[in-house]
């Protein structure tokens, strides 16, 4: 039986897509929540309007963009209780004689958090 050329092309594409998906799974594993955007979802329609770029490299324009709420005053724990690996990146600061490390893996979820070191309100960002 002669298989139509179009069908063969389509079948090849499907097989190729399946191979790419399988390779991706083997290389990176199943998608987990850790890789999904973890910042709070855009806050119930909260937006801000201003003159800015709507996308990287884009022109300056008057646009309305979504606002994502970030955590405020998250707790801190002593070093021995921190679930970090030696090569984890942190943003460290000493304020009012108190040293605090802000793990980049958390900052990367929100870009900025509202925290406090000693009596000083701080905005670690990365």
């Amino acid at each position: 039986m002669k298989i139509p050329r179009n069908f063969r092309v389509l079948a090849s594409l499907v097989v190729a897509a399946a191979l790419v998906a399988a390779a991706g799974y083997l290389l990176w594993g199943p998608r987990s929540s850790a890789e999904e955007p973890q910042g709070e979802p855009a806050s119930a329609g909260r937006t801000v309007r201003g003159r800015m770029q709507a996308r990287p490299g884009g022109p300056m324009e008057d646009v309305e963009v979504a606002v994502h709420e970030v955590p405020t005053d998250l707790p801190t724990v002593p070093a021995e209780e921190a679930p970090l690996e030696d090569d984890d990146l942190v943003l460290g600061v000493v304020v009012d004689a108190q040293a605090v490390a802000f793990p980049i893996r958390y900052l990367a979820m929100f870009e900025v958090v509202d925290s406090r070191v000693g009596e000083t309100p701080v905005a670690p960002t990365w």
Binding site: E35, G50, Q53, V70, L89, V90, G92, A108
Partner: protein, 189 residues
């Protein structure tokens, strides 16, 4: 790292999806004004033009920070793994992989502004430089320290105090500091 206050007024920042010079924007809950991450100042709203005070901070590995500050506390986000970011695993010139997010260290460096003078120290230049560097910036003596194993560099004043600095990509730094000098190790050898 910024002190999130202007005068006695405390501010609470959220993340806004727009960009300014391809850099992130925040919005404060108190006035609704927009703030530029790298510029460190309000770019709209009633506080437009108000700068935030920079708090000198060090971006480095957990091992190096803990060694320097054994009594440190650590911000926790219970139940979240976060987004691991690794600088070390992506050789210069290679394509990024999806997980964990990886960055090209060849473009990374330390940006300092002292006495109104900006200078950028690419890691690739510090790799072949005799550190700590001793130089003058903004008319003041500055030393630049580099720890490639700890993926960090920082500046200190003559008294050994940490100077406000940022680890940034060279292009991003130049976008906000177009007059910045760029350190070249070869010129100093």
């Amino acid at each position: 790292m910024y002190a999130r206050q202007v005068g006695d007024r405390e501010l609470t920042f959220d993340f806004a999806e727009g960009l300014l010079r391809d850099n992130l924007l925040f919005v404060d809950r108190e006035t609704g004004g927009l703030w530029s991450q790298l510029h460190g100042a309000a770019v709209s709203g009633p506080l437009e033009g108000s700068p935030l005070r920079i708090i000198p901070a060090l971006q480095t590995t957990w091992a190096f920070w803990r060694e320097q500050h054994p009594d440190t506390r650590v911000l926790m986000l219970a139940g979240k793994e976060g987004r691991p970011y690794l600088y070390r695993n992506r050789p210069p010139g290679t394509r990024p992989t999806r997980r964990p997010t990886q960055h090209d260290t060849s473009a990374l460096g330390l940006g300092l502004v002292v006495g109104g003078e900006a200078m950028f120290f690419p890691f690739r230049e510090l790799d072949s430089a005799p550190t700590p560097l001793q130089l003058e910036l903004g008319g003041r003596p500055v030393s630049v320290h580099y720890r490639p194993q700890a993926l960090t560099a920082w500046g200190e004043d003559a008294q050994g105090n940490l100077l406000p600095g940022v680890l940034a990509y060279e292009e991003g730094w130049k976008a906000f500091n177009p007059d910045s000098r760029i350190y070249r190790a070869r010129q100093r050898q």
